[in-house]
Symmetry: C2
Subunit: 139 residues, 2 copies
């Protein structure tokens, strides 16, 4: 059996052709633990693993995977987009110092009742971000 068939299947079932670069990126993203990546750092990782792919393709692929529900886009910082391989609804720590994201285990935050969405609209997402900063010794 092809060593990549799992990833190829994953991509196919999202309605995308399993191209060389999509398969390679899917391997980086979906083998192993859940991950939080930015386009730039996934691109650098690919390059350092000798995967020949362009930055534009990394952007395209991240968006295609997101549209296909394989990734979830997370907004925690006004200057960068993060993509989370865990698409189940959950919340995030954002460690300002190093720009890293962490998952908040399910159940650790409980949201109360949500307001209704106005007519003709729907709630697309509810995101909770707990931003963690260093303590400044303000004595």
């Amino acid at each position: 059996m092809h060593p990549n068939s799992y990833f190829i299947e994953h991509i196919r079932s999202a309605g995308l052709s399993p191209t060389r670069q999509r398969v390679a990126l899917a391997k980086l993203l979906f083998q192993g633990e859940n991950r939080h990546v930015t386009a730039e750092n996934l691109y650098k990782e690919a390059i350092s693993e000798k995967i020949s792919v362009s930055l534009a393709t990394v952007y395209n692929t991240l968006h295609q995977f997101t549209d296909a529900g394989m990734l979830r886009e997370i907004t925690v910082d006004a200057n960068r987009s993060y993509f989370d391989t865990n698409t189940k609804s959950h919340h995030h720590f954002y460690f300002e110092k190093d720009g890293k994201l962490g998952d908040i285990p399910d159940g650790m935050i409980t949201l109360g009742k949500l307001p209704e969405a106005p007519q003709g609209t729907k709630i697309k997402s509810v995101d909770v971000v707990v931003t963690i900063a260093h303590v400044d010794n303000d004595y």
Copy 2:
């Protein structure tokens, strides 16, 4: 009494000199209702009100006001920073279609117990963003 003395005082008490442009921007921001602005749209508003100020100064001023606790920066979109004149802890709707923010009235969302911040760090903020999208008629 100087018509701007309220704003001048506000700026002084934040430890900033009340320059022409800071006073003018403070008037736009703090007279009337609470507001959600981006640097770009505050800049355009200032220009259309014949306030002579540069975009760089708008950015500087928004950050200085934020550092001084007069504004709160809100991250809802990966491409733009929003600043909220309401610095009390509260949450937001984000209307994707037109890039506008709305406040979620206090009490409409109740957060359960929060996790502890790791050693040497503290929770800087907890932001809840409810993103509102248009309903696509997927029939």
